[in-house]
């Protein structure tokens, strides 16, 4: 099957080069940059007081208390300020119009959120201005298997392929979502079983595919042999081998196969306890790598989740992020994140707001989690490194470490303080936001 993303990459790389020029508010070529900061929150390690971050061609070259500065380096003075990695909203719907979030079909793993991305929408500027440098956008929760999600950078490019940090980050699924606000016990049953069916069907598909490949190989061998015989002094005529029927691959099954081969994690949205348990049961049965999404009532079965070492993306922390609380949020508890993380569950925080603009409140979400018992360092990690690890992009973003992308935020105070303002945002060493003085 053809991979749209790879395809795109080859093609439109040219455009980006041109676009770069006017998408970045200010770009200074590949000059090295050094940020002298009062507090550096590396997230991965302990904070560094009065340290320096050195940036070379968009990567972090060095950081620490005593870094030797090269000549003609652009020095940014942030002595009294905080520097931290760019924030990540792992439950964003930025760049996607509501109408494009969901497909009418229920099991549609072959869908790709990248086809729904509209780089021309403007909300991202506000999100960027709050220090968010990357978002994970997944299809909505109407379809049982909605399609593949992607991690995007807010680098302002008008070319989707330049925004993509990771395509096929996860495959989005949802169980037990009530379409109306009526109770949905029947739907629940149906959801669980139809996802299960799809996965079983995929197993069969994989076997058929292997068989077909084997047969083809076998045939080719025989054929070669036959031809050799044919050409050489023929002794006894062998009958010609028959070509096996051609195997028709199915895009949908291929994606699910990747899931079963643990190449793509399955991100299952589940709110109520029973749904979460269903999700876990599926993971037990098929052994794919599971990410629990939303997990509203997770705090009631924290140990179950912890025992299985299943990572969780919690959101919304407060129902203030959704317009009108649906039935799923009935037992919503603001301590959910705190309880889960305290029980040793790897928990990321997402906004999962009603629309793209919500993502700008990711720090507020973290602060609320902290208010309700999560310790602040964990809360900060839950909106930077933890989601990066879950989504498989920790090698690029999520923390301030040598070798990682220079996606970082400069703030005039502690990130969780409401009075703190974002001073500057960088993506790959380019300044993409700078606070106007009068603000």
């Amino acid at each position: 099957m053809e991979n749209p993303v790879v395809m795109g990459h080859k093609n439109i790389i040219l455009i980006s080069s041109l676009l770069l020029l006017f998408t970045f508010t200010s770009a200074f070529g590949s000059q090295d940059i050094a940020i002298r900061a009062g507090h550096i929150l590396t997230i991965s390690d302990n904070p560094i007081e009065n340290g320096i971050v050195l940036i070379k061609d968009g990567k972090i070259e060095a950081l620490g208390r005593n870094v030797v500065l090269p000549a003609d380096v652009r020095l940014i003075d942030a002595n009294d300020k905080f520097v931290m990695p760019g924030l990540i909203d792992s439950q964003s719907r930025l760049f996607v119009m509501d109408s494009e979030l969901n497909e009418s079909r229920t099991i549609a793993p072959e869908l790709n959120i990248l086809d729904a991305i509209d780089p021309f929408i403007k909300e991202y500027r506000e999100v960027l201005a709050q220090g968010v440098t990357a978002v994970c956008v997944a299809p909505g929760s109407r379809g049982l298997i909605g399609g593949r999600s992607a991690v995007l950078k807010l680098n302002g490019s008008k070319n989707v392929d330049r925004m993509v940090l990771k395509a096929d980050a996860t495959l989005k699924a949802a169980v037990g979502i009530s379409t109306s606000n009526a109770s949905s016990s029947l739907a629940r049953l149906e959801h669980y079983s139809s996802i299960r069916e799809a996965l079983i069907a995929t197993k069969v598909y994989m076997q058929r595919k292997e068989k077909a490949d084997r047969e083809l190989a076998e045939y080719n061998r025989k054929k070669a042999e036959y031809e050799k015989k044919d050409s050489g002094k023929e002794t006894e005529k062998k009958e010609k081998p028959k070509r096996p029927a051609r195997f028709r691959s199915s895009p949908a099954s291929d994606v699910l196969a990747q899931v079963l081969r643990k190449e793509i994690p399955l991100q299952i949205e589940a709110h109520r306890v029973v749904d979460i348990l269903n999700a876990l049961r599926l993971a037990d049965e098929f052994g794919f790598s599971l990410i629990l999404d939303k997990c509203t009532e997770g705090y009631l079965i924290a140990d179950e989740i912890a025992r299985r070492k299943v990572p969780v993306i919690i959101g919304p922390v407060s129902t203030s992020f959704v317009d009108m609380p649906r039935l799923e949020y009935r037992n919503h508890n603001m301590s959910n994140a705190a309880i889960l993380s305290k029980r040793g569950v790897k928990a990321a925080l997402g906004v999962s707001g009603r629309d793209g603009a919500s993502s700008k409140f990711i720090t507020l979400a973290a602060a609320m989690a902290a208010a309700n018992g999560m310790d602040k360092s964990a809360a900060l990690r839950a909106i930077t490194l933890t989601p990066a690890e879950m989504l498989g992009v920790a090698d690029r973003i999520g923390s301030l470490q040598v070798g990682k992308d220079a996606d970082l935020v400069i703030l005039n105070g502690h990130p969780l303080d409401i009075r703190t303002r974002v001073e500057m945002v960088m993506i790959e060493g380019k300044v993409v936001f700078e606070r106007k003085s009068q603000q």
Partner: protein
């Protein structure tokens, strides 16, 4: 779709494998090939061989040649419907019939590069029907064609509507003639691809559907080639036809057909470019007004564009909350994109190509450029620029006689000449009279009570 008709199309190689049938002579011979349309042959020829004077000389007050400079008091010499010479001092042969048009402005007829009017229905409700052709759906007696001629349009590409993923192939016709065959200029030109999802599908589903179709097509071809190879190997004769329903998409990819890709929002343009580059197509973009945001990209890719009839839109500036007028043609013009105009009848003026051009000029577009985008450029986009779109020796004598400057609202199309034959005259236009003059006094009812 109708299997019988398709199998015909399938068997008839002439239609498909004839390399771009573009100039008049060829097209005649090409039609002649088409045994199934022998009827068409007779008619189309009879139309061409109508009482056209062999030699004509048009003495014009002024001539807008489009490609060259305008000519005051010039002469156009025409022989067998083809322009032989044009200029100030062209000597008129003794046997030429002279048409006096001293008080007229003469220019090449307008060309409309994209329309879905004149069809009984513009869209099929099945998403993938590339094998359909508007040829089978054009209604010659539709008032739309009559009006087009009245408005000075001499050639139009009729394509399926914008609601079908792979809508079918188009037909270039002139708005004159009693049968489609008689109107025909060039058939099997352009294939309509619409990137706007319809029904309750999302853009994800829509694009996936397209990719699915292409991967199936790939499979089919591989299998086909395999069978061919096998036959060769077994020294068996191989007479299997390519499935006619798939042929148009194949012709698209080997550039026999031009892709007319409709984009609903700016983001669709990105996908259009993706497709254009992946399959190396000849592409023309058919754009909705809001697609202007992608103008720089389009300019960089040097893709031709057909603009939506609505040339001016308003947008709310988020910072100031003011309404800002966006003049679409100007945005593309400044970006350096080559485009053609479209028409509709939803409000004053938009029905006329000259008015669309005038609107662009009003907001600062160069007059010459604007005139090109209603004549030469559309002719290029639909591949008839070798016979239409400008007044040059060697091109077809398809001209319009205007009462004054084309961009003036007071100018009327006085005469239309197609291939040397006058096919429209205002003073003989009964319908126009009815539309402009007061009907005879209808008698008043006697006052009751």
């Amino acid at each position: 779709m109708n299997p019988v008709r398709n199998s015909n199309r399938g068997k008839n190689k002439n239609i498909r494998q004839e390399p771009s049938i573009s100039n008049g002579v060829k097209s005649k011979s090409y039609i002649a090939f088409v045994t199934v349309f022998s009827m068409a042959f007779v008619i189309s020829v009879s139309v061409r061989a109508a009482p056209v004077r062999k030699k004509l000389a048009v003495k014009a007050g002024s001539i807008i040649t489009i490609t060259g400079a305008d000519i005051k008091n010039g002469t156009i010499l025409i022989e067998d419907g083809i322009i032989k010479a044009v200029g100030k001092k062209v000597e008129i042969p003794w046997d030429a019939f002279v048409i006096e048009a001293k008080d007229r402005v003469i220019m090449p007829g307008f060309v409309l590069a994209h329309t879905s009017s004149g069809l009984d229905r513009a869209n099929e409700n099945v998403p993938e029907v590339p094998f359909l052709s508007t040829f089978d759906s054009i209604d010659p007696i539709s008032p739309y064609f009559e009006d087009s001629l009245r408005d000075g349009v001499v050639a139009m590409l009729v394509l399926p509507g914008n609601n079908t993923l792979l809508g079918g192939t188009g037909t270039v016709v002139k708005p004159h003639g009693l049968t489609v065959e008689a109107m025909l200029i060039k058939r099997y030109t352009g294939l309509k691809i619409s990137l706007r999802p319809t029904g309750n599908t999302s853009r994800m589903g829509h694009m996936q559907r397209f990719r699915r179709y292409m991967s199936d097509l790939k499979d089919y071809l591989e299998e086909y080639e395999q069978r061919k190879a096998d036959a060769k190997e077994e020294k068996k004769p191989f007479d299997e036809e390519i499935d006619p329903r798939k042929q148009p998409m194949l012709d698209l990819m080997n550039k026999k057909l031009t892709a007319f890709i409709y984009c609903d929002i700016a983001a669709d343009v990105l996908k259009a470019i993706e497709i254009h580059e992946k399959y190396k197509l000849n592409t023309v973009l058919v754009l909705n007004p809001t697609c202007y945001k992608a103008a720089p990209l389009i300019a960089q890719k040097k893709l031709p564009v057909i603009l939506h009839p609505q040339l001016i839109i308003w947008e709310t500036n988020e910072e100031t909350n003011e309404e800002e007028m966006k003049v679409i043609p100007m945005i593309f013009h400044k970006a350096g994109v080559k485009f053609a105009f479209q028409t509709d009848t939803s409000q004053y003026g938009r029905r006329y190509l000259w008015y669309q051009a005038a609107t662009a000029v009003r907001h600062g577009m160069k007059r010459e450029e604007a005139l090109k985008s209603i004549t030469l450029y559309p002719a290029q986009f639909i591949g008839v620029d070798d016979r239409l779109g400008s007044i040059q020796a060697g091109k077809e004598a398809t001209l319009i006689f205007l009462t004054s400057d084309p961009l003036d609202a007071q100018a009327w199309v006085d005469k239309v000449m197609i291939a040397g034959e006058i096919v429209y005259e205002k003073e003989k236009d009964q319908r126009l009279k009815k539309l402009l003059e007061k009907p005879d006094e209808i008698q008043k009812p006697k006052d009751t009570d």
